[in-house]
Symmetry: C2
Subunit: 355 residues, 2 copies
DNA sequence: TTTAGCACTCGAAGGGTTAGAGTGCTAAAT
DNA sequence: ATTTAGCACTCTAACCCTTCGAGTGCTAAA
């Protein structure tokens, strides 16, 4: 990557700053007068020409001002950005809100999406915390009607899965409770493989049930992000570059389908990373539908226990500083939420590493 | 409401049909040639003038064709519409999909939203089935860490609520299980009031827990529609009347905030109702943000047991026939889903009407 | 009661002009 | 060796004007 002079960096920063605010190509004279630069517009013009040469700026047409290129944004994000933290009062306020929601995971995930969207003025997405490898904590079986039974699976980490299953023959609640207790005793703390290995010596009812447990846990393991909570879509549709264009709808379809989101969320190694936070600019050549968008992604949680993804989606000219600092703050906050309210027995208590 | 001649009804129907397809004001000559009418354009003009007089059509400007007014749509929906059922193959296909999803309520609610959006070519919304009055089926308490306990509440009807609660002092899993069993025995099938009434003779742990149960059930009762599942937003944003206008964003904000949706879903008595299905045209004077929108709403489930709402949101010129028939079909289908897979003990087994 | 004929209206579309913001280049100034 | 003033040039956005044509309402004949 080309080394710029200090002044060039300064001017690039100003152009990006101005363009993010106005969405209008920025000219040399405007820049000088708006920011009281003590150089002439001609000097700025020369520097801009250099930056254009380097591929960091471009002109929409000959007699227009400059606009940052994707490369320009990338340079800015990776080398120039000075992301200030959120103000202390704001942080305290947000923390307080989360504290009040601490009892319900879904609620605080939703809150996270809402805060993220509001603070970054863009669309936000948050996935609930999800263990990399589901470990069983508790099985519950509840008779409903005839051969149908509601199975509730509580995983270590707090995730709860429920499913209605149909047994071969009707069973009383009492038998079901005993079965659930037995299986809970037997498989507490076990992951998919361990259950599968130890599932030999079982009577028929237990076997029947554990089959469903395995199925559900397989599903849990394969889900990277079961549900994705979105918020702030209107923030992004309000941006001038998307009003009335095809792009806005395409982007919305992306968010609606969610498969691409999972794809992206799954891909943790990305081009530009700032302190654990990934910045995806203009689809990075891979996701064509995202060409007019940027995504700031973070993750939260504890790798061994449960992790989730959170991010901000906005136009190319989004405020990266604000987005990054918000994502960073919420990332640590949500990590705290996971460890504070969902932490369970230490994982060393179970498993093969019990030395 | 004014009585129209058969020919006027016919022409109104044609205008609405054509406008629904093209989104362009429809003129007399176009109408005659496009539908091979055996009358002259002048005759059509006269009838159109009459319909305009009655307030069922209007002209965007003097020398333009006619466009249906909200009143026009209302007349059409309440007196003229002939909503054909979905084709048999389609119905079977959809039913089959639902059958495969029958184990997971969230999944089939999501599927319903998806099918509804696809079939009606508009945005759709579906709320999960929700009992009008929560009745307890089962309490489960699971120790997590220290004084924190995961409480899982299973309601009759299949709804499951979970919450982390903090007790006054640490309690073993065994004690918790006993407590849960005791409370389940004592309050099974009881609603909020009954629990409150019978909650006198309890020891301290039970009392502590039952307080949280009451809180959760109160919350369950007050929720009309906890979550609203949306789909097909892009269908609606693609409509020409919304490209680039403020309206689209306003509408999206409505859907995002969901409070208005609950408001609407809660208000079951509406102006135009066709076979249990409510049609809300242009906000009906009450919801200003919805002026450029129409909503076709239905409900499903069994009033005593659990009910939900489903609906379609589209532009004023949406295809009401298609929307209504889709909503109607899904309404019965989802009702079946509720009774088939979630039905519990008959409600007469419990309560004051046990004669 | 229907229809042919006609004058009239008004928005959409096309074309031409203008204004001004912005550029790059050159030559003078620092 | 930079920086800056000056200037010719470019190109879009905005405006105005005209034209075109679809659609109307009215009148009079069928």
């Amino acid at each position: 990557m080309i080394e710029l002079t200090e002044r060039q960096k300064f001017i690039l920063t100003l152009v990006i700053h101005d363009y993010t605010r106005t969405a209008l190509p920025v000219g040399s004279q405007v820049l000088v007068s708006r920011y009281n630069l003590d150089m002439s517009s001609a000097t700025v013009r020369n520097e801009m020409a250099a930056l254009t040469e380097y591929g960091l700026l471009r002109q929409p047409h000959t007699s227009a001002g400059r606009v940052p290129t994707e490369e320009g944004y990338r340079y800015f994000v990776s080398r120039l950005i000075r992301s200030s933290d959120l103000p202390d009062t704001t942080r305290r306020m947000i923390s307080h809100q989360f504290y009040q929601m601490r009892h319900d995971v879904e609620q605080w995930v939703r809150l996270a999406a809402s805060v993220l969207a509001y603070q970054s003025r863009a669309a936000s997405l948050v996935t609930p915390p999800h263990p990399e490898k589901a470990r069983l904590k508790h099985i519950e079986l509840i008779a409903t009607r005839g051969r149908q039974v509601l199975m509730v699976l509580v995983m270590i980490g707090g995730e709860v899965r429920q499913r209605i299953l149909t047994l071969n023959e009707p069973v009383t609640q009492e038998l079901l409770s005993q079965c659930a207790d037995r299986l809970t005793q037997l498989f507490q703390g076990a992951d998919l493989d361990e259950i599968r290995a130890r599932a030999a010596q079982l009577n028929s009812l237990d076997e029947d049930v554990i089959g469903w447990v395995l199925q559900d846990m397989t599903q849990a393991d394969s889900e990277i992000a079961g549900e994705v909570f979105l918020d702030g879509l209107t923030n992004v549709l309000a941006e001038p570059e998307f009003t009335g264009s095809e792009d806005a709808r395409r982007a919305l379809r992306i968010l609606e389908e969610r498969s691409l989101l999972q794809d992206i969320a799954a891909r943790s190694v990305m081009s530009n990373s700032v302190g654990g936070i990934q910045v995806l600019i203009g689809g990075e050549g891979t996701w064509d539908e995202l060409r007019p968008w940027s995504i700031v992604l973070g993750s939260y949680g504890t790798p061994g226990l449960a992790t989730g993804t959170l991010g901000v989606l906005g136009p190319l000219r989004m405020s990266y500083g604000r987005a990054i600092s918000t994502v960073r703050f919420l990332s640590t906050l949500l990590s705290d939420m996971v460890t504070e309210t969902l932490l369970d027995e230490p994982t060393t208590q179970k498993g093969e590493d019990s030395l």
